[in-house]
Amino acid sequence: MADSSGTTLMDLITADPAPVPAAASSSSSSSASSMTAAASPSATHPQHVSTKTTLGEKKSKRAALMQIQNDTISVAKAALNPVRTNIISHQKQKQKQKKPVSYAQLARSIHELAATSDQKSSQKQLVHHVFPKLAVYNSVDPSLAPSLLMLDQQCEDRMVLRYVYYYLARILADTGSQGLNPGGGIPTPNWDALADIDAVGGVTRADVVPRIVNQLTTEATNTDVEFHARRLQALKALTYSPSSNIEILSKLYEIVFGILDKVGDVPQKRKKGIFGAKGGDKESIIRSNLQYGALSALRRLPLDPGNPSFLHHAVQGISFPDPVAVRHSLEIISDLAIRDPYAVAMALGKLVAPGGALLDVLHLHDVLARVSLARLCHTISTARSLDERPDIKSQFNSVLYQLLLDPSERVCFEAILCILGKHDNTEKTEERAAGWYRLTREILKLPEAPSNSKDKSQKTRRPQPLIKLVMRRLESSFRSFSRPVLHAAARIVQEMGRSRAAAHALGLQDLDEGAYGNQYDAVDSLDSDMNDSSHPEGIRRTTGVSNAAGGKDTIAGMLASLMEVVRTTVACECVYVRAMVIKGLIWMQSPHESFDELKSIIASELSDPAWPATLLNDVLLTLHARFKATPDMAVTLLELARIFATKVPGKIDADVLQLLWKTCLVGAGPDGKHTALEAVTIVLDLPPPQPESMSGFTSVDRVSASDPKSALALQRLVQAAVWFLGENANYAASEYAWESATPPGTALMMLDADKMVAAASSRNPTLAGALTRLQRCAFSGSWEVRIIAAQALTTVAIRSGEPFRLQIYEFLHALAQGGVQSQLSEMHLSNGEDQGASGTGLGVLITPMIKVLDEMYTAQDDLSKEIRNHDNANKEWKDEELKKLYETHERLLDLVSLFCYVPRAKYLPLGPISAKLIDIYRTRHNISASTGLSDPAVSTGISDLVYESKPAAAESDTLDDDLVNVWAANLGDVPAVNRVNEFLAGAGTDAPDVDENIISRPSVSYDDMWAKTLLESTEMEEDDVRSSGSSSPESTGSVETSISSHFGGMNYPSLFSSRPTTYGGASQPSERSGGSRVNNPSMYEGYGSSIREEPPPYTSPERYDSFENPLAGHGSHSFQSQDDDRVSSGNPQFGTALYDFTAGGDDELSLTTGEEVEIEYEVDGWFYVKKKRPGRDGKMAGLVPVLYVSQSSGST
């Protein structure tokens, strides 16, 4: 696009402007025609090869280089020839043909004209034709530098010189073709690369930069008064040189400090009214110009925090008469203040006192200067290091509060943000809470300032509570017609909400809301300690009731009226403003108030097709952030998220939504879990989308998915929800097989379905509800949903105790045999229709699931028989019998692990009665005494998640926020989570990633691993719907493979999967049925011992090439490339075992926690590591899961 626009631009800019050529103007409208227009000159004038080449084309690069060389030669010739005719002929040529001028031509003209720069016509030519056209190119050829320098020395014309400085600066700034130089326009060849190709005659930057720097330095140090304008420009151009060059940098410091040493001292106080252009004698004006130039340059230099003279000069700048200089000095100081507030406060000294220079800035007509002042005041007034000097702090504070009255919204809003405690995005909750406290409690007292007697501020001399000022200001801003103002105001409201939420989170809410925000009576008797006495106990009211009755004077009342105004702003036509308003509303939503209004606003907003997807996801992320701030709101937020899921399924990112679900589910605490799960699954209860014609009104409970794309997306969401339900129902219901009190035998006695269901729902309504939904999904819905529902049911069956397992078992049986449908078809056998696949079509998928459950039940039966036999005969258990039992136990565990994660140490496929016997066998044979610990779930804190009876669970209620933080901090490199984090950190696309979750746990918690598995999988599916997915099991591909590879398809990562299972994910082709026989090493633990038939699991990525499953193509490709990245580069890396790991196969290596290993390479989520000493099993090297090892150096 840049190229096409470039050609158009090229045509227009280079054609001679005087007679308007029709061809050129028409070409502006269509880039295609302009392309041909651009192509023609090179055809007619082959000697002027166009340099508009892409950087990749070596050939044309070479041609361009030749051209440059030719030009240089012709310059030499031109110097000998009569130049005048040369120019004229040049002009003639131009006028005659009106063809675009190539870069080479321009370069040549500069060389020619530089030689004759003393002539008026050359100067004119340069200023009017050559230089403006050259500006179109985004970089400047260093070979022009000699001519430019010549012009710089010899030419007198100001315009020419100005351009010369401009181009010299650009040559200095040009850090190569990929540099960050502020170039623009048409791409030019990479000059340095060109010179490298053929060094003959090439001029590189390295050659010219020192010359340019020398020349500019000489000019910048020239103290001639008449020269000072050029001096400033030379200094400016110098600052463009790359800051990596220390030599130039120190030279610059020297020059700048040199100037400031001379002119920095301001003997007399600045007079009012000499800002800008008016007044003053010549000497002082020149001084102020130099001050300006020096400070502007200083602003571009890197900060030098430890340097007292740096600080001194910056502080001097505040008193300078030039407003821009004052702004720069304030900006420098406010940056410095963040690093060393004490030194800055001391250096500022009296400037902040009444009548000081800082107070003059309040009246400076430069918005950004006042913004910097606000930041400076905030930094100093909240600095810890100044706790000893409350006088200084209060001085700066009062300046900050005065800025609330600033006529400019920008300044006022900055002051509000500062008061709210938002300066960058790294503030802590405490700071924000304190900010809210300040805003609601403090009062602005204007100091007696006799010098400002002319000011209007006399009227507002009465002390005002900040909150009142802010509210009034915001309300009036919301009445503005300017979109930026509305946007900014909504953003301020959002930040207010953030601070308020922080205050609530810290339990400050009782100070707030109901209290009178303002008491004129109290205020009128102003005295110094007013802040402390302004809120006598008697006036405080409680929240809630007084909200309605409190009227205007309570904070709650003011907030209510503000929010009223904010809500009306939703009518703004700009979607970005509306988004910001909604974010503001979400933040201002208090957990105790009804959110119906917000809900209906969002619902009606989402009906507008104008919303771009990115914006919607941003709002969704706001929900996430809001949850982080107030975990109590989990259910409310889920309700809101549901609106997104139903209204705009096509636009929102299922991963972000799922992450939100998950976070909320965990954060909701034991009481809220049921509701949270309900809120998620309500997506499943929605009626199918209605045709467009029906959508006369907006309802939350109806799906708007009228176009196929969003219908598909909705499908995806439903699948995600079903999967989510299957994975997390047990967690939400706190029902686990390994904790179940019901002995399995009793369930067998309740085979009567009705009794069973009744028993189930009375025992655990949450799980029963989830099961009902899943069962319904397994019957109805599309086949993708049905498959996932069946899988989800199996997961729940395996993890739940009785009677749930039996209930599901029954159900799956019915499903496999065709269930209701096949019964029906038997009844209407004779209608002549071909029934197609029998039943639900899930038979092939369900068979292995049923088989596992069958095996479990059979084994349980056998066990109880054995036990009875032993009891009857009063026999001891023999070792062989125990061994057999143990082997059955292990085998079943392995089987079960294929379907979903279970904690191996706890899980008893043979039922609770087997526990004792297995224990006996284990102790006798000393088998993996550490299993309990080595189990990732147990050792890493799944117990936090799973065992609510333990203290850890109680912790999880109170520390939800923390828990979520830790997740977010450790989720790893995953799009959705990154987005959340970035969003929470307020980072832009290119903003440095500020990780606000610095809290790190010593060991990776289970949640991290869980989240990681969830999210790693999302990487693979990014934008390709069909590529294998797993966190939201949507893809046809994945489902297809999951059918064919019975076990392989169960690989959805889950709350309970501890391995990066998704590396194989659904992209793994049918290893059993297919011929390629790729063994995926990331299959579940223990898989290999009993089932795996293939030796080395560390298949190199190439082996995927042999895949024949076309559906797996996508997944395996992305997977493969990921692998390539992850394989370490060869230098040895070391790591420490995070957990115990028991080898599941010959190629695997057992680890004990804390063991040091050397990581050889990584493949498919496994490290091949070497130990220093052989382990108990005598092995030195083998594969271990990546997650089990923390790398001590390097990166994956």
């Binding site: 631009l9 227009l12 502006s28 918005v367 920008r410």
Partner: protein, 149 residues
Amino acid sequence: MLLAILVSNSAGNILLERFNGIPSEERLHWRTFMVKLGADNLKGARNEELFVASQKSVYIVYTVLGGVCIYIVGKDEYDELALTEVMFVITSSIKDACGKSPSERLFLEKYGKICLCLDEIVWQGILENTEKERIRRLIGLKPPNPTEI
């Protein structure tokens, strides 16, 4: 930081762009994003009517001036309101350079002068001069505050 200044014609072809601190691989993304914004919203907009957009913590203010559209991207202290100020400076000095609201043609004729103006307004991603008069003096290589009264 003023991340980018972009001028396009009404058809969405980029006439002038200045990036600061945006890696080159992201530039195309920004260009497309802004041109799309303009195509979606600027049709029928009044001269110098301000539009706003935001992408995470990056703000965009854009407007239409005669035959060209101007987009400014900023972050941190250059929020939507600060960008409004910058926009005001830029539009007024472009009008100053062109003598009126520029058509696309006029803009290109004054291209060099406009580049110099921008050079005085934005210096390494930081707003520099805001006064029209002062900018005019500086691009003529005169001192910022006149020495002759």
